[in-house]
Symmetry: C2
Subunit: 539 residues, 2 copies
């Protein structure tokens, strides 16, 4: 009977009931009365309140997008999209407003900055970085880019469906031109591509990345050739039987609990393209996809997204209400998901513990030995599509994209030549050639959205993961025996302590240096891959 | 593998992809280039864009609140509440901003107003009403009220738990005082309580409502006394067996489909206090509660909230993007939920159609005849708690609250006297007296939130529903035979056409006048109750 009451009235009451937080953004009396505050303290307080206000808008956007991908009624989507557009517009305006500019200028003053607590200082640094990047581009040019990429994405979708690169080519050419134009606005020291890398992996340069990737590529290609030559082919058939969705759902819940996921600060839902979204510090939402006749889909996307979620659930409370309250970089975030998905979730120890309960749930697997299961989930197979690639070949897909992006930005290759270049590199690295562009150069959405410099993050994630894994092994030599004992809290706590809690307060390199005592080095990943796959393939 | 990609990048791409809507709020070029627009057209366009922007923030709030009540992780709630607070703050600011004031003043100019299309004119009227109401109260007094009621609500919760009215009394006294203070700001013609009624039922006055309620009360009390005297007691036991939740869920879905609910523009979820929330015009979300050992809970809250949802799903597209795109008043909205819940959902015809499938789902009911089931779901029983009350006694609970509110506002009764007054009126109208204040004067949340003038809407809903039902009967004499034929589209389409589509473009009285040719009249409800319950109780 109280339905309408809740619909219309509690809405108002809600905001009333939350008065303190409601007014904090404008009044902000956190730790002492304004009267006793120094000017700097007042400035910091107003700044922090404005930042919190912006983050509240972002929280609303995140929830709206999560909702769109987990069951929002389809006829409501266009209106929802408009609402999201308005909020993102508001957020962009606020982050680039004269008011924000004045906050950042006053707080960046060396004398003032020196007096700031580390969280506020980090917040100023991060927002300044975003402000400078956004402001560097004239509004009309940014708008032109937004329009171009929004159109380019629909064109890309069509081009991919019809496998017609020519349709997409002119758009990609204009996107590359605008990337170069923007790079001029942003400026660069050595390689123009560095500027794009910085957006996703602060401080990373081509000069540093090239040798790292080259070593990894050579070693991976060698390993892959040996694997192919071995003639060993794991039997994956048993994983392609019927696995009731409700049982897969229960399994995904069991796996997240096993990893240490806190369900009172997150949830698990179903979607088409699995993702994790951290709505706020205590609301990390994992999504997964259940495929009736392929058990691997939900198991490994759940573990992967669960790894992202553990990162967000491990960030220190002190960072709440600041832009530092999230993973430090794309690469570091991916390192956590890959570590859990591949190095834990595809390890023998993990399934020595979990395989019995898997057999209980799915008697259809009873014919399959643990060893056969382990081999099947670690099948290595050169393939055409990145998102279907295994642990060994995945990085080769990334390098192809990285090298092509660099070549485009340095004008050493033309967009029109991409299908050809793509085929050649696929042949060189993976020994397979796409029969058409849909399965080749058109397979990824990234370029149509103008996200150049993003791809390397995926492989950096694998590299970081392997380096962090070796550090973990140094600190807790028998950490894998914990896996055997059926809980992963020691590993999670170690990662919380060494990686997660810092959020964006530390950059990815600082964290890597603290944890491993080294810089970025693909050696650990090469060792890991060889140690794991050579025995598996009897080579 | 693309998880993080979706988490961080598609977020940006989303807002890009939605450029047109994203920039409409600021650019707004809807039907012709600004160059060709007259000044008034430009003004209207900017106004409509600003309104749309505000409604987008509200859409975000609605979703956040729906999410809080349907499964948001509990540890994330405090942060979510802060975010909702910030958005509601923003909405309030925008609706009372100098910018909004200037729009409203310029568009309210008679010469300009006369040229406006009806939707824009209605939008101006509605926002002016809200603006005047909000602006009448000095900011510091409003803030004081918000703080008082937010505190009062937690105190009320404790007072209810411990059944300690004295604990709540001083807060209620201050709330009443502030209500009177606000009424002075708002002003009133005859009865100060009129001002409060207007907030929920525009144009309604005590002078008009008193005789309507008096007639209903006298007739209802007479009917109730006859029912009690009849000694007839339906057997409800069979409805209190075990009914598996998943089967109840399927039943709720079946019932909504049967009513004509559009699942492509809405959804059904689980909650503790059922409500319906219209996130946007094509996203109406019903929630219900499944009680394992009481089938009535989910069945009737689903039908009730479904009635609210059909209203929102029936509003004309032309009203999208305006504050007119929702039910015209609390009372009219409640009339739709009550019509479906009681007049359809508790009718013999409805279950003549649905009882067979109910028996299939729940063989435990097989011992119960259709007639016994019909009697059980229409059990009349004087009780202490409003939200548990049946169709006959419910309005008596409302009138007690209405009369007490009027007396408080007219200073003819003191807050301290309420427990006594409450007991007396319960004795007079229902013949039962609460053993304690928790089951008496402390049972409802409304007063602690300062929502005076709200309660009458519930009974107005029943009155409107009965009047609309007689009009429906005039237009489609055999509409109940449609129920027998197993679909309700004719009824839904008639309501869409006569009531729903107008949204707030017409006021509740205008709609009632159009549909019934009359004003508010409790005669129809009295006839309906007598015709239904006298035979049921053999009187």
């Amino acid at each position: 009977m109280r339905g309408w009451y809740f619909l219309r009235c509690n809405r108002l009451q809600w905001s009333k009931r939350r008065l303190q937080p409601l007014y904090q953004p404008t009044r902000g009396v956190a730790w002492k009365g304004r009267a006793q505050l120094s000017n700097v303290e007042k400035l910091v307080q107003d700044f922090r309140n404005e930042v919190a206000r912006i983050l509240h808008f972002e929280e609303a956007m995140y929830l709206m997008e999560w909702d769109l991908r987990t069951g929002a009624p389809k006829r409501g989507v266009p209106l929802r999209a408009e609402a999201i557009g308005t909020l993102s517009d508001e957020v962009f305006r606020a982050k680039t407003s004269p008011r924000m500019e004045s906050y950042l200028n006053r707080l960046s003053d060396p004398d003032v900055f020196a007096t700031l607590d580390s969280v506020t200082a980090g917040t100023v640094r991060e927002l300044k970085r975003q402000f400078d990047r956004d402001k560097a581009i004239p509004a009309d040019r940014k708008k032109a880019f937004v329009m171009l990429t929004s159109e380019a994405q629909s064109v890309w979708e069509e081009a991919k469906e019809t496998s017609d690169f020519e349709l997409f080519r002119p758009y990609l050419e204009r996107i590359v031109d605008m990337q170069l134009e923007f790079i001029d606005y942003w400026g660069f020291e050595n390689d123009p591509y560095d500027t794009l890398l910085h957006h996703f992996e602060p401080g990373l340069t081509v000069a540093e990345l090239d040798p790292i990737f080259r070593n990894l590529r050579q070693e991976t290609v060698r390993l892959l050739q040996d694997i192919v030559a071995s003639g060993v082919r794991p039997e994956v058939g048993p994983l392609l039987q019927d696995f009731p969705i409700w049982q897969q759902r229960e399994l995904s819940t069991e796996l997240l609990l096993y990893m240490g996921f806190d369900f009172s600060a997150g949830r698990l839902d179903t979607t088409v393209h699995p993702f994790m979204s951290s709505i706020n510090r205590y609301d990390a939402r994992v999504t997964t996809m259940y495929v009736k006749n392929d058990l691997r889909s939900s198991v490994f996307s759940t573990i992967h997204e669960g790894g992202h979620a553990l990162y967000e659930q491990g960030i220190a409370d002190e960072l709440i209400g600041t832009p530092l309250c999230t993973g430090t970089s794309m690469g570091m975030h991916e390192s956590q998901s890959r570590f859990y998905e591949n190095m834990i979730g595809r390890s023998m120890e993990f399934w020595e513990t979990k395989y019995p309960s898997l057999l209980e749930r799915f008697p259809t697997l009873s014919g399959m030995s643990l060893e056969a299961f382990y081999a099947a989930i670690n099948e290595v197979q050169p393939s055409l599509v990145r998102i279907d690639a295994d642990e060994v070949t995945y990085n080769l897909h990334i390098m192809i994209r990285y090298e092509i992006e660099k070549a485009l930005i340095n004008r050493s290759v033309k967009v029109a030549e991409l299908p050809l270049v793509w085929g050649e590199k696929m042949q060189d690295y993976l020994g397979v050639v796409p029969p058409n562009d849909a399965l080749g150069v058109l397979q990824d959405v990234h370029w149509s959205g103008g996200d150049f410099g993003y791809f390397p993050s995926y492989t950096l994630g694998n590299i970081y993961a392997a380096q962090i894994r070796e550090a973990l092994h140094r600190d807790i030599p028998d950490y894998m025996s914990e896996v055997l004992q059926g809980h992963l809290l020691g590993i999670k706590n170690w990662l919380n302590d060494k990686v997660h809690r810092f959020g964006k307060l530390l950059g990815p390199r600082e964290i890597l240096q603290q944890v491993t005592g080294q810089g970025i080095d693909s050696g650990a990943l090469v060792r890991y891959l060889n140690d794991k796959y050579r025995p598996l393939y009897h080579i």
